[in-house]
């Protein structure tokens, strides 16, 4: 579904990504872990088109998308959230939900039904007329997550989706994620919350200093000596 080949990116003298390779298959939930500054967010930015890679290519459903713009990648079905929340803060929750659907020229009925269903799924229906900036951080993260689903994304890349969550809310997020995965959605998740990522991932990729240290079964990666040394301590 999504394939990253020899992806490299540097900023000045810093090598943010170095020959990164991995593949995501449909309906997988890939967890990406790594210490701060290891290149996880850069990887997501490069896959979605915010950064141009210095080298390598990105393939989505057998199409080379390396040089197509961010908005076109989104329209193809690659959704994402951001480490630093990027909601349309002065717009209402409802308006935030409609914007991606409008770009896909969905009918009013379809977009409203979809938005209502997703809001219901994360228990935000009662806040639909509230400005996004008035929501708690956890609610904003949930909104950003379901907003990405309004693009009918086949794959969604989530950058630290549970950061700032109240512990109760983490379960809401996990339940929603697993429900959407059951419906056929694929996810790539960057997360520091190890118990949460271990619970949902079908595969784990550990990154350090811009390189893939190890990838595979979550339990194996989690207990690998190199990964423990680099990240888990």
């Amino acid at each position: 579904m999504l394939r990253v080949e020899n992806l490299s990116k540097h900023f000045g003298g810093t090598q943010a990504l170095k020959d990164v390779n991995f593949e995501v298959k449909p309906k997988e939930i890939i967890g990406i872990i790594g210490p701060n500054g290891s290149g996880k967010s850069t990887l997501l930015h490069t896959i979605t088109g915010i950064h141009k890679p210095d080298k390598g290519s990105i393939w989505y459903e057998d199409k080379n998308i390396t040089s197509i713009p961010l908005e076109d990648r989104a329209r193809l079905g690659i959704g994402r959230t951001f480490q630093n929340l990027r909601l349309f803060k002065r717009l209402t929750v409802w308006e935030n939900m409609l914007i991606p659907a409008i770009q896909l020229k969905k009918s009013k009925k379809d977009m409203e039904e979809q938005a209502s269903e997703l809001l219901n799924l994360v228990n935000l229906t009662h806040l639909k007329n509230e400005q996004a900036q008035n929501l708690s951080i956890g609610q904003q993260r949930l909104l950003e997550f379901i907003r990405a689903m309004m693009l009918d994304s086949k794959i969604v890349l989530l950058d630290e989706p549970t950061a700032g969550f109240h512990p109760n809310m983490i379960q809401t997020f996990i339940d929603t994620l697993l429900e959407l995965n059951r419906r056929g959605k694929t996810f790539v998740i960057i997360e520091h919350n190890i118990p949460a990522i271990m619970e949902v991932s079908t595969k784990l990729i550990a990154i350090a200093a811009g390189e893939v240290l190890m990838s595979g079964n979550p339990e194996e990666v989690h207990s690998d000596a190199k990964v423990v040394e680099a990240y888990l301590g």
């Binding site: 908005e71 951001f82 909601l87 717009l91 308006e95």
Partner: protein, 322 residues
């Protein structure tokens, strides 16, 4: 649009309908000038308030519409109604050209480039005598002929033009297109990540607001029966920005309140010459300090507070009755 904004608009419309019955010609003249500034501030607000693009070329674009309309009505003998429309199209095209060139730039780069464009435009029309008659300005035919005897006609005409511009802005802002544009104002990267074609939307808004400025400029030219480089000065542009910001950026009624109140204040303080700009500056600082959302924001705040008070006292009363 909020209910409160609708109510204020309705009141203003009723006042505007009956105004000529109660005021003298000079006051009507001031209101006509205010209508020009309201159109300018509203169309600039569409650009800056709703899509987040700060341009300093808006008066230059109005001027391009005014000169186009003036020149073709003088040289081709076309009626001003038609020439104003042609002027609007030309202003829109100039806006489109400028937009394509500049709208990939951000913030201060866009501002500086549009200032440069406005200054180049002003210098060209000031120094060119054969076509635009330089600093003296170009005499153009009036929309209805003599101003003094036909003032009510001009008032009615600008009233209709203002309503059309408002209708256009309303339809645009409260459509799916408008919602998309507001998302760009909030966060361009997030908008792109949601599939929004950011540059295309910005260019469309720039073109539409330029055409609206062109209509306003064309009307003013055929009202004053003169179009001069004075329209394009940075001072005039500052007036338009002040009106939109003081009134309330990103609100529908803000530029109307700002345009009307500042034009009226300008009349009272004009005897101080250029010092009146200091007064505008002072008002701007005070508004930005105490109500960054402008007068419209202040009105909404008071209205919401009052509404909250009423609902609280109503619920207390109910509890007491229980």
């Amino acid at each position: 649009m909020e209910q409160l904004e609708k109510r204020i608009l309705a009141v203003l419309l009723v006042v505007a309908l009956f105004l000529p019955l109660f005021v003298d010609d000079y006051a009507l003249h001031i209101v006509i000038l205010a209508c020009f500034f309201i159109m300018m501030a509203s169309s600039w607000n569409l650009l800056a308030g709703y899509s987040g693009q700060v341009s300093f070329a808006h008066m230059a674009l109005a001027s391009s519409g005014a000169y186009t309309s003036g020149l073709i009505s003088v040289h081709l003998g076309i009626h001003p109604v038609l020439s104003i429309l042609v002027g609007a199209v030309v202003a829109g095209l100039v806006g489109l050209f400028l937009g394509v060139l500049t709208l990939r730039m951000k913030d201060s780069y866009l501002a500086l480039t549009t200032i440069a464009f406005a200054e180049i435009f002003r210098l060209v029309i000031s120094l060119e005598y054969k076509v635009t008659n330089g600093k003296v300005g170009l005499s153009v035919p009036g929309l209805f002929g003599d101003i003094t005897s036909k003032l009510p006609y001009y008032y009615t005409a600008i009233g209709l033009v203002v309503l059309m511009v408002f209708f256009g802005i309303y339809r645009l802002v409260y459509s799916n297109f408008g919602l998309t544009v507001r998302s760009i104002r909030e966060d361009e990267i997030a908008a792109s990540a949601m599939g929004v074609k950011v540059v295309r939307h910005k260019i469309i808004v720039f073109t539409i607001s330029s055409a609206m400025a062109g209509v306003a400029g064309g009307f003013l030219a055929h009202y004053n029966q003169l179009v001069s480089p004075e329209m394009t000065t940075i001072t005039q542009m500052g007036m338009v920005i002040s009106m939109a910001v003081i009134g309330g950026l990103g609100t529908f009624i803000g530029p109307i309140i700002g345009g009307l109140s500042l034009e009226i204040i300008a009349e009272y303080v004009k005897e101080f010459g250029n010092y009146h700009l200091m007064i505008f500056g002072l008002i701007l600082i005070l508004v930005l300090r105490f109500s960054p959302q402008g007068i419209a924001g202040l009105i909404t705040k008071f209205h919401n507070r009052k509404k909250k008070k009423v609902s609280t006292s109503a619920s207390t009363e109910k509890e007491v009755q229980k």
